[in-house]
């Protein structure tokens, strides 16, 4: 199997989808000539032309708003937000318009757009370029939310997102672009909305998504060396949320940890912890533990940055105590 980067898988997904579906256009800052700040759309303009790779001014609110209008009138736009941190300028267009249009208008029309963006820490980019804001999206009815952790999912989830009738927020992780895996993209993908059980074990279930899947797997390897076997669930999409898979494993194992890079309070980890605590109550031998980002902004200092979000080491350490 050929090795491929996360970045190239995303690029391939866009390329293939644009070849198949002529209504897809990409719209965002530096998506055309420049090829994307992280290179995801590199050279796509040469293949699909400047009318389909639309370089925009730096006008995030209007970029999302324009994508909404385009999606209502026949196109399937992929709007790119260079950093998820810029969501704050666009939440009106995203949450008040894109997310609510089908509903407010009584089902007359949908907004089949994909908002591609990237988040997370790892590049000393500071407080305004390192956030994990998926909780805002997960809390907004009407928006689907996909967050690929693997190279294959980068490809397949993006392809699937580009067939959905409703707006999908697609969040990549900035630290994963250069990650390489051997993948066979022609293999059947998991269905949209289904979690992947990345590892099986009987001592503990770790529920997570995006980059933290890799940290959880790394932690699980370390734990295995101490005789602790963890199940690692990669959620892949947070909306829809595949709670059935979570339930099955948590009920089987009785101990669960949820991991998210986002700020702990009122974040995705809270939702997962609450949901498991409610629904698997009688099966839990221990409280569900949240390992998440600190309730603080991210610093540029590498030490502070990496210290403020979960790592494989912390996951393993907490898991060890949880299963002791």
């Amino acid at each position: 199997m050929p090795a491929m980067t996360y970045r190239d898988a995303l690029r391939q997904a866009l390329d293939d989808a644009m070849t198949e579906d002529k209504s897809i256009v990409v719209i965002g800052e530096e998506v055309g000539r420049y090829g994307g700040a992280y290179g995801v759309t590199k050279d796509l303009i040469k293949v699909h032309g400047p009318e389909r790779l639309i370089d925009t001014p730096i006008s995030e609110p209007a970029i999302i708003g324009a994508a909404v209008g385009a999606a209502m009138t026949g196109l399937r736009p992929v709007a790119e937000l260079m950093y998820i941190d810029f969501l704050g300028m666009t939440m009106d267009q995203l949450a008040n318009q894109a997310a609510k249009i089908r509903y407010m208008f009584g089902g007359q029309i949908g907004v089949p757009m994909v908002l591609r963006t990237q988040g997370g820490t790892g590049r000393s980019a500071g407080a305004q370029h390192s956030q994990s804001l998926e909780a805002w999206i997960m809390h907004t009815p009407g928006l689907r939310l996909a967050m690929p952790a693997t190279v294959a999912d980068a490809y397949h989830l993006l392809r699937q997102s580009l067939t959905k009738p409703d707006p999908v927020v697609f969040i990549e992780h900035k630290a994963l672009y250069t990650r390489k895996e051997e993948v066979d993209l022609s293999a059947d993908p998991l269905p949209w909305g289904k979690a992947a059980v990345r590892r099986h074990g009987d001592d503990l279930v770790i529920v997570t998504y995006s980059r933290q899947v890799l940290y959880a797997l790394e932690a699980a390897e370390a734990l295995a060396r101490n005789g602790i076997e963890a199940t690692v669930i990669d959620l892949r999409t947070l909306n829809p949320l595949d709670f059935d898979t979570i339930r099955t494993h948590v009920e089987r194992v009785g101990k669960a940890m949820v991991v998210s890079e986002g700020v702990m309070t009122s974040g995705v980890a809270a939702e997962l912890c609450a949901r498991i605590s409610e629904e698997c109550f009688d099966f839990l031998e221990q409280p569900v533990i949240r390992v998440a980002g600190e309730d603080i902004p991210i610093s540029v200092s590498q030490e502070l940055e990496s210290g403020s979000v979960p790592s494989a080491r912390i996951i393993a350490e907490v898991a060890e105590r949880l299963t002791a």
């Binding site: 999302i64 708003g65 324009a66 009138t73 196109l75 208008f105 409610e278 109550f281």
Partner: protein
């Protein structure tokens, strides 16, 4: 229909009279306690902006409106019964009671939606313009908004994109002199809004909204230009006859100003023009007005008699049919509480 309608102005008059009468009925619906809430924004006094611009739109053209958009939608050909039902939050309304006055829409007429967010519907026309250009729809997309939205930054981002990409887009400001209690000169230093549009590379025009034919002529030029790839901006100067919404008595403006402002009445102006020019008779116009009154009376009955949407419809249309649906809170709780039988 007893009108001789031997002129296009008569058609425009009819449109404007229908708007005015409809809005009066909206007021009645509210007074009767049958409207969904009190956030009803009447476009009385602004009929010329709706009638004049919509008159030169083509069937394939699309548009968005602001919160004061009843008149525009009617001018575009909406069914006033379904509008009134929507304003009443009823199942028979355009949006089955989910949208209401401020979120009404109709894809069949190219109405991409009213908006309760000031400026919120503006950038959508940029996207519709992209669709039109890329999919060769030959459609112009028009954003209608109030003078208040002239101070929302997203307008300039949208204008800039439209100009940069040569999109078939028109921005129409229904300048009724006020945003709630704020007069335009209390919101901005320079009220010559067309200068802004030109500074961003668009065509820009200001037109007095008293004479609907002037509005129509200005709109025709700008829409033709837009269709050919040069987007434009039009400010239609009118006066908001009444309060901002149903509860507002406009204590912030002098009665003398209001009386003066209401003299700028595009409906009466068109009527007088029709009579003066001998195109229509007083009797014919009176008959038309009565006919319209009857039509609009019926909208209230329709709304009042329509059913509220079924409670279960609440979970519909969050996502497309066939897609995973939201689980009702009740169902979730039932499952958690029923767990003893595990």
């Amino acid at each position: 229909m007893t009108l001789t309608a031997n002129s296009h102005l008569a058609e425009l008059y009819r449109t404007m009279r229908r708007i005015r009468t409809f809005e009066e009925r909206v007021g009645e619906l509210f007074v009767r306690g049958q409207s969904a809430g009190s956030m009803l924004h009447l476009s009385i006094g602004e009929e010329s902006s709706a009638a004049g611009v919509c008159d030169v739109m083509k069937p394939q053209d699309t548009f968005t409106t602001h919160h004061r958009g009843h008149g525009i939608f009617l001018a575009r050909g909406a069914d006033p019964k379904r509008m009134m039902a929507e304003i009443g939050g009823k199942e028979t309304g355009y949006c089955h009671g989910k949208g209401g006055s401020m979120h009404i829409a109709d894809m069949a007429l190219g109405h991409l939606g009213a908006n309760a967010i000031v400026g919120g519907g503006i950038p959508a026309v940029v996207g519709a313009g992209l669709s039109s250009k890329y999919l060769k729809q030959d459609a112009v997309s028009i954003a209608f908004f109030g003078d208040g939205a002239m101070q929302q930054g997203i307008l300039y981002e949208s204008m800039n994109m439209a100009a940069l990409w040569s999109l078939p887009v028109l921005f129409v400001c229904v300048n009724n002199q006020y945003g709630m209690g704020t007069r335009i000169d209390q919101a901005t230093r320079n009220t010559a809004f067309d200068e802004r549009a030109r500074a961003f590379g668009l065509n820009g025009a200001v037109v007095n909204g008293l004479d609907v034919e002037d509005v129509r002529d200005a709109a025709r030029w700008l829409i033709d230009e837009a269709r050919a790839g040069k987007p434009g901006f039009l400010s239609v100067e009118v006066y908001r006859f009444f309060g901002h919404a149903r509860m507002d008595k406009s204590p912030y403006r002098a009665e003398a100003e209001e009386l003066e402002g209401r003299k700028k009445d595009p409906v009466l102006f068109a009527r007088a023009k029709l009579l003066d020019s001998g195109l229509e008779s007083e009797a014919a116009l009176d008959a038309l007005d009565r006919e319209i009154a009857a039509e609009m009376d019926a909208t209230i009955d329709f709304a009042v008699e329509s059913r509220a949407p079924a409670l279960s419809s609440m979970f519909r249309d969050v996502y497309a049919v066939g897609e995973p649906e939201p689980e009702p809170v009740r169902a979730r709780i039932d499952r958690v509480l029923a767990r003893e039988d595990v």
